[in-house]
């Protein structure tokens, strides 16, 4: 029997699944080795509720399960628990699953505020639909709710990395998590000391478009807030990080370099050690825009 794969998505956008499809040949090769038993984007396997009527969801057993998205509602939680129960090895697929991702930005406010903003309407009188019942108090990463065996961050993770991780699990090869930062995979030129003040990204970086990336000055040294120093590397595979290829600063989408890291504190330290003032930094909490789960982003208590 071929090894079985099961996929689910929770508080997610489907970008991780599309990234897997972007692996092209890698995907075709994988399909020759495995049997996919559950994958709502691509196949019609439905939820079956358990015969004992406990309201639990029953999913088919699989050797490997991939879950994208964080956990924001009771329904997400039920699906996640069913995945944990049915899968031998569970992979947190993408940054939302591993660190909360962009949707966890809403953890800066109580969940009632989001409901109010979305449904109140211009007159502030709009009713919140009954279908919105069952929201949790915040957006959780999946490891806050169940045991996760493998973390595969990235927004989205790189296509070939997804296939490599699955192949390695199938071959029982050991996984070697990289502890390189984006900076350690970035070819731009560093002089050691750059601008003392940070600027918003309202005009393009300075570079000669005819020259390759390794002739461009480090964006952080140009005074742009680039989160390369505090972000896990790997987005560009063997070549330059993807945002840097677009000549745009990194915003931290792979989450912290080491598990448990705090991208906000680490980035403020990185700015300080580069001799940069961070007083002018607008919207500091958004340094946690990809890693706001684990209680890192939370509502600010208002002064009375």
């Amino acid at each position: 029997m071929r090894p079985r794969l099961s996929f689910e998505w929770l508080h997610a956008c489907s970008g991780c699944e599309i990234s897997l499809l972007n692996s092209g040949e890698g995907l075709l090769g994988l399909l020759e080795r495995v049997e996919i038993v559950h994958f709502p984007l691509l196949m019609d396997h439905k939820y079956r509720h358990r015969a004992d009527g406990a309201g639990e969801i029953d999913l088919p057993e699989a050797e490997i399960g991939l879950v994208s998205g964080g956990v924001a509602s009771e329904e997400h939680l039920a699906v996640l628990q069913a995945m944990r129960k049915s899968c031998t090895t569970l992979i947190g697929f993408g940054t939302c699953a591993t660190h909360g991702g962009i949707p966890a930005l809403r953890n800066q406010r109580p969940v009632a505020d989001a409901l109010q903003t979305v449904f109140a309407g211009a007159d502030g009188q709009g009713a919140i639909p009954a279908a919105m019942a069952g929201q949790l108090d915040r957006v959780y990463s999946i490891d806050e709710q169940v045991k996760v065996d493998v973390s595969l961050p990235g927004c989205p993770p790189r296509p070939e990395t997804i296939v490599e991780v699955i192949q390695a699990l199938l071959d029982r090869d050991s996984l070697q998590p990289s502890e390189k930062s984006v900076c350690e995979t970035c070819p731009t030129m560093r002089a050691g000391k750059g601008q003392a003040t940070v600027r918003r990204f309202l005009a393009n970086a300075e570079y000669d478009p005819g020259e390759p990336i390794d002739k461009m000055r480090c964006l952080l040294e140009q005074g742009l807030v680039c989160m390369g120093p505090v972000t896990a590397g790997g987005c560009g595979g063997k070549s330059a990080p993807l945002c840097i290829r677009a000549r745009v600063p990194c915003r931290g989408c792979y989450g912290p370099v080491r598990p448990g890291g705090n991208q906000l504190l680490d980035m403020l330290n990185a700015l300080a050690s580069n001799g940069m003032h961070h007083r002018d930094l607008v919207d500091r909490p958004s340094l946690l825009r990809f890693s706001g789960a684990h209680g890192l982003l939370r509502p600010v208590r208002r002064r009375n």
Binding site: W9, H11, A12, C13, S14, G15, I18, S19, L21, N22, S23, G24, E25, L27, L28, L31, P40, L41, L42, M43, D44, H45, K46, I102, P103, L105, R106, Q108, R109, L115, Q116, T117, V118, G121, G126, A127, A131, M132, Q135, C155, P156, R200, F201, L202, A203, N204, A205, P209, L242, C243, I244, R245, A246, R247, V248, R251, V282, D283, S286, R289
Partner: protein
């Protein structure tokens, strides 16, 4: 006794949804609803953030069409800051947008929808999918996988990130295109155009011939349509004026910035997705299956219905053939698939047109911007329909208010009508089994929600 049959989750669509079919005492369909319940909260959590960062945040609304949210937001923030992008900035943005349409259409037609037609709605769920297609038609499937990947890799090569892009920036684009890049993209663009022409021919033989029967079983609803055209009435995806067509084919045109005068949003207690209706028709909003009011549709079929013509030759020829057979406006829900492949042809032709424009390699790609208070409304035609981003900023250039109308939102009301109609017809005739329930889902899948 009354009961509810649920399809949960609706599968082979690009998001989370369920269908609940309510049966009365005699077993007749009394109601059927497509429910979508996720509180993403983007309109709330963008507030207070620097506006120039928004295009890199709201692209996470959708991992399949992140370029659409990225660009609608970028255009809206141009408006907030009162900055006019350079002509090349616009060309590069449009190039990325049409490239993103290409991968999306291949994904939807071949990966999600085609298994119903090529493998049949009555085939087992375990083979009625792209994996089944790989086994049934390995050469076709391999080509489909490679062509979709090619469109995505063209974006990655030129613009860094294909999924959750970063290269669109307030004032224009983050990097210019070199002559070498232009030549490489043009060669790949030609390969995509050849594939698009093949795909339409293939579908006419293997898929669309089955439509006549399926259209009859699933039924047809009659609605208005919304899409985007230029001053000459040509189909446009990146910019232009909105054209809102009534059921009888008459229309009004307006700039996206005036959307609030023509469209309004409605909240229903059973769905977290707001519904949009044509306020300007002065008939209110109703999902009454016998007399719906205010309901119009968006996405491929709508765009082809509202435009007078398409400005590229191959797509125009395909449009003429389509109109000759189905008239204007064409109402059949499954015709969305056919229209999707005509748009695929247009997107490929447009890629080559843009790459042939000598201004595209001009190094002046961005106008510098300064933060200021303002309001901006940006719109593009996303694969799933007319996408509108509306933001206001304070004098520090941070967001104070956001309103987003995403493509699928316009189609929630008509999808509910289609689901109800399909459920009523099918359940009247047959026993509830997996095939019947899948046929109801086919009514949703056509809309590509």
């Amino acid at each position: 006794m009354p009961q509810v049959i649920s399809i949960h989750p609706v599968t082979r669509i690009e998001g989370h949804a369920r269908i609940d079919i309510h049966l009365d005492e005699s077993g007749r369909v009394s109601d059927a609803r497509l429910g979508i319940s996720a509180l993403r909260g983007f309109e709330q959590f963008v507030v207070g953030r620097p506006a120039e960062e928004i295009p890199r945040i709201v692209n996470r609304i959708c991992g399949i069409c992140p370029w659409m949210h990225h660009l609608a937001a970028v255009k809206a923030i141009d408006g907030c800051f009162g900055v006019v992008p350079t002509p090349t900035g616009h060309l590069l943005r449009e190039l990325c947008q049409v490239l993103a349409h290409i991968h999306d259409k291949i994904l939807h037609f071949f990966f999600l929808a085609a298994p119903d037609f090529v493998l049949g709605p009555n085939s087992d769920y375990s083979v009625r999918n792209i994996m089944g297609l790989v086994r049934r038609e390995p050469q076709l499937a391999a080509q489909v996988v490679r062509m979709r990947q090619l469109a995505q890799m063209m974006l990655e090569r030129f613009a860094g990130k294909a999924i959750h892009p970063v290269a669109g920036v307030v004032g224009g684009f983050a990097k210019p295109m070199s002559e070498e890049e232009r030549r490489g993209l043009a060669a790949d663009g030609q390969a995509l155009l050849d594939f698009a022409a093949f795909a339409l021919d293939y579908a006419k033989g293997a898929v669309f011939d089955r439509f006549r029967e399926d259209c009859n079983t699933l039924g047809t609803i009659t609605t208005g349509f919304l899409g985007t055209v230029d001053d000459g009435g040509n189909l446009r995806l990146y910019d232009g004026r909105l054209r809102l067509m009534r059921r009888d084919g008459g229309w009004v045109e307006f700039p996206a910035s005036e959307y609030e005068h023509y469209l309004a949003e409605q909240v229903e207690p059973w769905s977290s997705a707001k519904m949009v209706y044509a306020k300007t028709w002065n008939e209110g909003f109703s999902l009454d299956p016998d007399a719906p009011r205010g309901v119009y549709r968006v996405n491929t079929l709508a765009r082809l219905n509202v435009c007078d013509r398409i400005a590229t030759p191959k797509a125009q020829a395909a449009l003429e053939e389509f109109r000759h057979e189905f008239g204007r406006p064409a109402q059949g829900t499954l015709l969305y698939h056919w229209a999707r492949l005509i748009e695929l042809l247009y997107a490929c032709e447009r890629v080559l047109e843009l790459l042939a424009d000598e201004r595209i390699t001009d190094p002046k790609v961005r106008t510098s911007a300064s933060p200021k208070a303002g309001r901006g409304i940006g719109h593009v035609e996303a694969p799933r329909g007319t996408l509108i981003h509306d933001y206001a900023t304070d004098d520090k250039g941070c967001i104070t208010r956001a309103n987003l109308i995403v493509g699928t939102t316009h189609n929630i009301a008509p999808m509910n009508l289609s689901v109800r109609q399909a459920a009523a017809r099918l359940l009247d005739e047959g026993e509830v089994d997996d095939e019947l329930l899948n046929r109801i889902e086919m009514a949703v899948r056509a809309y590509d929600p």
